[in-house]
Symmetry: C2
Amino acid sequence: MKPTIYDVAERAGVSIATVSYVLNNQRVGKKSKEKVLQAMRELNYKPSVLASALTGKPTSTIGFLLPDLANPFVAEMARRVEDRAHERGYNLVICSTDFDPNKEALYTSLLKQKSVDGFILAGGFKSVEIIKELLEEQTPVALLAESHPSTSVNSVKVDDFTGGYEVTSYLLSLGHRRIAVLGEDATSTQDRIRGYKQALMENGIEVREEWIAISDFNRGNGERLVGEMLGASDRPTAVFACNDLLAIDAILAAREKKIPVPDDLSIIGFDNTLLSRACDPPLTTMEQPMQDMCSQVVDLLIEEIEGKSDLKKRIIMLPRLIIRQSTGPCPSDKG
Amino acid sequence: MKPTIYDVAERAGVSIATVSYVLNNQRVGKKSKEKVLQAMRELNYKPSVLASALTGKPTSTIGFLLPDLANPFVAEMARRVEDRAHERGYNLVICSTDFDPNKEALYTSLLKQKSVDGFILAGGFKSVEIIKELLEEQTPVALLAESHPSTSVNSVKVDDFTGGYEVTSYLLSLGHRRIAVLGEDATSTQDRIRGYKQALMENGIEVREEWIAISDFNRGNGERLVGEMLGASDRPTAVFACNDLLAIDAILAAREKKIPVPDDLSIIGFDNTLLSRACDPPLTTMEQPMQDMCSQVVDLLIEEIEGKSDLKKRIIMLPRLIIRQSTGPCPSDKG
DNA sequence: ATGAAAGCGCTAACAC
DNA sequence: GTGTTAGCGCTTTCAT
């Protein structure tokens, strides 16, 4: 049987209270501390997190709800969050919610039963009610790549509006005037599109709603949407995809239609994932400072969990344009 | 405060035992059962997994140790495992071990303290000692995309030897005689290389050790290794990469050296991940029946956890060749 | 500085 | 069929 504090206490010739004290670095005589430590080593004793959690102590476990672990961007995020959490002595329970409010409710409830200390909710978390509920019951929460303007909750994200604005400005600077957007049904997309519209407007360019496509989360859907836009006689010369995965959809659509990228069509992504280097042509994209963002949410959450700070923060980071080979001057402008 | 069985019992006018019984679907009178259920609803009662686990019941949590969540292949695997686990009512605690035995030891120990019911160890798990240790203490374990011939442990994987053999046979059938391999330091690579050598030998082709490259786990390392092989005057006409990520490294190396794929160099991958469709040219690759494999390990592990079966199984699935555009006839053979 | 003992929420004999 | 009660392993108050 696994050794318990009783075994350790007995072996060290002290009471279980004393053992518990050394476990928690409380006041203990140097001598008995040494004996206890010795006994622990000899028995290869590992305290039970369960038992200690039952008495009210935290479990050092964080629930991480994300849309879909199979998405490389999300997976990379998960890895960064995991790393930081481990560094801080926490474990991660990961659940993919598929943008489904039912799953969100299910998993938050489940994880609460398992006494996670807090939640990190990653971009694309749908249910504001759940967030509010967690907040009300004082469950520590932090949002990653997402924020809720009206709610007082910790969050870390990039400035999506600026991102959209800068992407569009860059395309404009290349001479493009006919710029399409491919996004998904998420708040980040909305903000990026606002930035896109702003940039167009400032340059006196009309926004064409038929060039704003929102993909659902089925793989290949973006490819179809871009295909349709490219099929029209009057087609865009540039596509701003709201993430790298969608940008690849756009590349596939262009390839299908035999439209050379970037010569006849510029494509720009968002996220700067591994994918953006691997695809052909390598993707011009907006980089999100992933590592930083992930460390920050974890730290934010842990601060709240450990009660070191009860002020909520909203951290906004700035994205950065990475120019590769999927973008070029507007065709009609060329020599 | 969160309601406990005591609250429920009081409200329903029964004893806590009765409440516990309905919780566990034991013999209870229909009447009191109804009352208890009613009380639970009214109080929005959720049982504490901690407390029940402390009495020896399982936690319905599985520890999933994998090499690196940021690797898209691994992430996809994680997602499948997650799905199946959730279907069966289990949660997943995921830890990336980076092929580092120290991390492996750390996380298994940590998760044992948190009373996970069992472990799934994914391909590339280094430490045989840890596996043996888990086995000895009767901790349920299942291996995914990995197996240990000498140990009696549940495992699910593809037949790597056959995979390597078939990849090589296919390349041979295209006329290639100078075939390089790019692998990583994993048992799966070793088996695939055995298959590769076997196929070469059967065709009377000499194995050239300088064409067998093993990449470490630093990104871009594979690219360098292939670059070196392609730089030699006497270079291979085909590269067998032991996973899609490495195949992309090979594509990048070829692109760098301005060697057209597949015209002057055929490249073949393994895994059939999302990447293989997205890259250019789309990758010919061996498909692992990921979804099946993942469901199976989860089921295998849960069977052991729930004590429904104490026989160990080793499940071997067969990989399947997916032909896309990264492979073609050997240059010198061409019209 | 250390120990005795109550209690965290639940399970499972055992008794009725 | 239902209640009583003794734990599960640990924390923590209160004495000493």
